[in-house]
């Protein structure tokens, strides 16, 4: 039985860079279009709730846009989707069913946290603050 030169391979690997990625000290390389964190751009969202209805694990909740933001007229009900990233399975169904293509997609995959993470702040940051209202506009939720 012929010997396979596994030893040669092993020796070569001892002196080469480790294949293991030392996450989180080192970043995992992901594709630019990998499915990562997504959030609704509220300047496009019309508050139709379709993404909430279609989301398979029910990770989306529709919330009232807090006072102090300039809400586009098309969003008559003044509601917006908040994605709970712990419940989200990153299927991007919300992205593909949205009638106004309101979702902003990223390849951000580092979402580990001990506090709940959701898309509230990211979504609200897409809206301009209303000029006459100087309050911080922290929402009632």
């Amino acid at each position: 039985m012929a010997k396979v030169p596994l030893l040669k391979d092993v020796l070569k690997l001892i002196f080469s860079k480790p294949a293991t990625i030392q996450y989180p000290r080192e970043e995992t390389p992901v594709e630019p279009d990998a499915r990562g964190r997504q959030y609704a751009d509220l300047s496009k969202c019309i508050g139709c709730s379709l993404c909430m209805i279609e989301c398979p694990p029910k990770a989306i909740r529709m919330e009232k846009i807090p006072e102090g933001y300039e809400v586009p007229k098309r969003n008559a009900r003044k509601i917006y989707p908040v994605v709970d990233y712990f419940k989200c399975i990153y299927c991007y169904r919300c992205v593909t069913v949205c009638p106004t293509k309101a979702y902003v997609v990223t390849n951000e995959y580092r979402l580990a946290s001990d506090a709940p993470v959701n898309s509230r702040e990211l979504s609200l940051s897409t809206l301009k603050k209303a000029s006459q209202e100087p309050s911080q506009g922290e929402g009632e939720g």
């Binding site: 294949a19 594709e31 279609e54 398979p56 399975i89 991007y92």
Partner: protein, 401 residues
Amino acid sequence: MTEEVSKADKVVEIPMTVEIPVGPQHPAVHEPILIKVYAEGEYVVKAEAYTGYNHRGVEKLAEKKTFYQDIFLCGRVCGICNTVHADCYVRALEHILNKEPPPRAKYLRTLAMELERLHSHMLILAVTAEIVGFDTLFMHMMRDRELIMKAKEIVTGNRVLADYIMVGGVRRDLNSEKIDKLKKILTKVEPRIRYYWRVFEEDVTLNKRLVEVGRLTPAQVTSHGLLGPVARASGVATDSRYHDAYDAYAEVPFRIVTRKEGDCMARSLVRFEEMQVSLEICRYILNHLPEGEAVPDERRLPRRFPEGEAFTTVEAPRGELTYYVMSKGGVNPYRVKIRTPSYNNIINTVPFYVGHMIADVPAILASYDPCISCMERVVVIDLRKGIRKKVSMRDLAKGEA
């Protein structure tokens, strides 16, 4: 004392069988199944399988969710073969809707499924090496498997859970840049697979542990309804890619891989050769991708489904997977029945452990490529009894001697 002995009218001979639980924590692969092995010395005299550690009620849940939400649910029946599950379910929906995906989408689906077969086979072969005590090989193979995961990420957007298949097509397209990247990965992977193939064929340790172990005859395979590489390694040429010619398999050239030996080694080598075939299929698809649309507009798909039913099969990495979907009209399916290959392959092969050494049990189990979360939708309690009738210590304690 001697008087007492002479008064006895019955001698109870206690058969020294030892009951050894293999699992449910890491029996061979990282999957929760308990194989209770009764051993006499080193040899197995009886084996029983206990399942149900991972029952999640997927079929019932599928009735509660909409047809489209179920695509993502079905993809999560099994992590390793999520694309085949989604493909099988989506094709059932397409039958009900009487819809045909465009040719480019069919090719892309086939590409995603073949990449899945590649990484699934690579995983189980690595695990086989680990089980027989060859951990170095395991690490090497897992490192190279990462290349295929990358290819899957390029195609589908995620390295494991693809969520790639949608009614009427796929969910993202390939451009020429991605095709080049994929071709490069395939060129890199191929020599590695050939190398590991040679290691399996020639290495002394692997040969000692896998050759002539867990042999299944073609008659046993057919009588117990075994599927996939397990059947093909015993010379039974069953492959629904060929029989059913779904998606692009009618146009893509490929061959069914079979072997005669039927032992653990044959099952491993069948997988290696299938990986070779999968690489050829992937390459063919990348070179012959038809032009046209592949991604349907999900906002325009019908929400309500007509009445109807469909029964579809795909060749998953572990064998033939079947879905039955019934619609009574409306937005939810009335029934989704899933039958996975592992369900047959693991439960029905339990009698065949008898006569083997205990140390071979994990190796045999790994060679069947168990995927427990796949099969945990039905609890099976009664199994065929062992071949030799013995009274165990426990029955003796219960007074049944």
